[in-house]
Symmetry: C2
Subunit: 357 residues, 2 copies
DNA sequence: AGAGATTGTAAGGATAGTTCACTAACAAAT
DNA sequence: ATTTGTTAGTGAACTATCCTTACAATCTCT
């Protein structure tokens, strides 16, 4: 709790920490003493507020003195990694080609990249966070990741054994959602982060906690039907529903994934982006209503998403939900650009090692 | 934890409790001793399993020796209350007319009904649970309940002051969901209970916890648009989208609420129920996918819901979600009949007073 | 009959919080 | 210059909630 406050509120006095956490000043003093000994926090001198009473000594998290490794496996062609400090600032980047490497070879490629990152780190490393596509459970076991050929692979345990560092693994959309929560200023009461890339995924946080679902497959919203046969006459710009890689027809992914969007833009189809936005709004309206979300955040190429598509989606969401719901809702682009999953992977470590979210 | 195990698994030995909770036998012994002194549990003699070692003495929750009061405010015309034992069995029922009583008068009516229930109880009463329509926060403050004219009314605190008993208040659909979870055998990993009556509401439990949402308005799914203008040609049986009480048009409630369903049945519209089911499936598909739900439970008149409507909804859900999602999903009627909210209100007390869920 | 397993309890200890009482350091009023 | 009231931080003693260790009681199996 103390680290959590220090992380979010910046330097704080022990007395203020006590008020914020509900613990007593005594307990907070003890905890801070322990954290000082660990080197995680430092005293920063007296606060300058000219109030009555003894001036407080500020205590601050040493965010620049510790680092975290993050790896993003979303891209099929390359592994992307970075070293970040606890502020979420990227200190160094490393990449490695990964085309064709699957199974155990892919695990080794990730481990190699991590070793490069360890060398690139300039401060003590708290741990490693990995954002992977596919279905990942709480223990960091990748239950399914078709593009890497992983099934029931204990990725966190394997990397931990190779690197001798704490390793945390999560789904890439879930990581992006955590990143948005911690570094993008999203509202923990209810956020859905929609990642639009080769595929479409979503990470959802409700009441402060990530939604996992029965089979750890929550957020798999890319394969909901978004386009019916009957729509071909109605939403003309979108044409006939397309066959999806999943074998079904008219999935959200067939109109919203980046390749589909690029094709339409290349074909000069001006209204298509707005039409996709309307479809997205129709799909999201029930989710937003059911969960009373505060925010829906879009993550992906802004030239495709942040325009007619987003505006149409927002208008559709407003018109298809009741005011109590839509008034509480914001639909915006991610504040983290392309690094959402990477920053989220770093948050996995902060959360796992320091209890900071 | 000990009460939780005893509640769900029935009589258990101290040693088995220790294994189930992860506590030591010593700690469990101490806790059981305290619970025995409180009268909440009782020793039931030695277990009859002929294994090696000293025979275990079974300890059981005294579920018939304690009672709980539950009040359901869903019905506009009458207040319905009951006394239940901890098994969820209804021991006595009481009702009171409430037509026209709003504001403070409505609160007094509820308190009067509770006093009747106190008199009807034959065992010590642990507390009072209230299921109310409208938006209710965690503290039992009714933020909005249009039909009673309540705004920011601290119902739990008011009743507690009048009755001198612990009082817990929750939204009626949320209560129905908790009831289904505890007494209906629903899967805590992900359930949505859809209550169909004068209006349409939903209670959602994900990863074991009730979803509340930003403005405590989660589950307000009755006013999502389910019928567009363009649908008038497509889903002919439903006709043109109707104006809704909320001021918008084509809300799910305009086709799925009980009055709308009865009208269609009375008009002899054979295909209408299936058409409504299809609309429901379309609305639920994104929610089910996003949350990877294990169950969707329908609560309401079975003669309307448990037939073509449910089957069509199930088929539509299957066809519009990917197999990973739909294979994990079950769509069924409630196991609790009309008493879902009432049993759920009782669960509020068990949860609040004993920590049992 | 003895060995081994299992249940439940007694005694004592570790941990993480609390309350109470104190000193230190300041602002504002006298 | 002094007093008063407020706030910050710490030491000591206490409490709740776990734990470990040790042991008696009672069973099955050989």
């Amino acid at each position: 709790m103390v680290l959590q406050r220090l992380f979010h509120d910046g330097p704080t006095s022990r007395a203020d920490l006590a008020r914020a956490t509900g613990l007593t000043r005594v307990t907070v003093s003890d905890l801070v003493t322990a954290l000082l000994a660990e080197g995680l926090v430092a005293e920063l001198g007296p606060s300058q507020t000219g109030r009555v009473g003894k001036p407080a000594t500020l205590v601050g998290l040493r965010t620049r003195e510790h680092q975290v490794l993050a790896v993003d496996l979303t891209d099929d062609l390359a592994l992307h990694g970075a070293v970040l400090d606890l502020e979420g600032e990227i200190v160094a980047r490393r990449s490695a080609p990964s085309a064709g490497r699957t199974g155990d070879a892919a695990v080794d490629a990730v481990a190699d990249l991590c070793r490069e990152l360890v060398d690139a780190a300039t401060r003590p490393v708290l741990g490693v966070g990995v954002a992977s596509p596919g279905v990942v459970d709480e223990q960091g076991v990748v239950l399914q990741a078709p593009n890497r050929g992983w099934v029931d692979l204990p990725l966190a345990a394997l990397l931990n054994a190779q690197l001798d560092l704490p390793v945390h693994v999560a789904n890439d959309a879930d990581a992006a959602c955590l990143g948005e929560l911690t570094y993008g200023g999203a509202d923990g009461a209810g956020v859905l982060v929609l990642t639009v890339g080769q595929g479409v995924g979503a990470g959802i946080v409700v009441d402060g906690a990530l939604v996992r679902g029965t089979g750890h497959a929550a957020g798999e919203i890319g394969h909901v039907t978004a386009l019916d046969e009957r729509d071909e006459t109605d939403d003309a710009p979108l044409g006939r529903p397309q066959r999806c890689a999943c074998g079904r027809t008219g999935c959200l992914e067939t109109v919203l994934a980046v390749p589909a969007l690029r094709r339409r833009v290349a074909e000069g189809d001006a209204d298509a982006l707005a039409a996709v936005g309307r479809r997205l709004g129709i799909v999201l309206a029930p989710v937003v209503s059911a969960l009373n979300l505060a925010e829906v955040v879009l993550s992906g190429p802004p030239e495709l998403l942040d325009g007619p598509l987003r505006l149409a989606a927002r208008a559709t969401l407003r018109s298809r939900t009741m005011p109590v719901i839509s008034d509480a809702l914001q639909l915006r682009m991610t504040a983290l650009g392309e690094d959402g999953a990477l920053r989220g992977a770093a948050v996995l470590v902060l959360s796992g090692q320091l209890g900071v979210t």
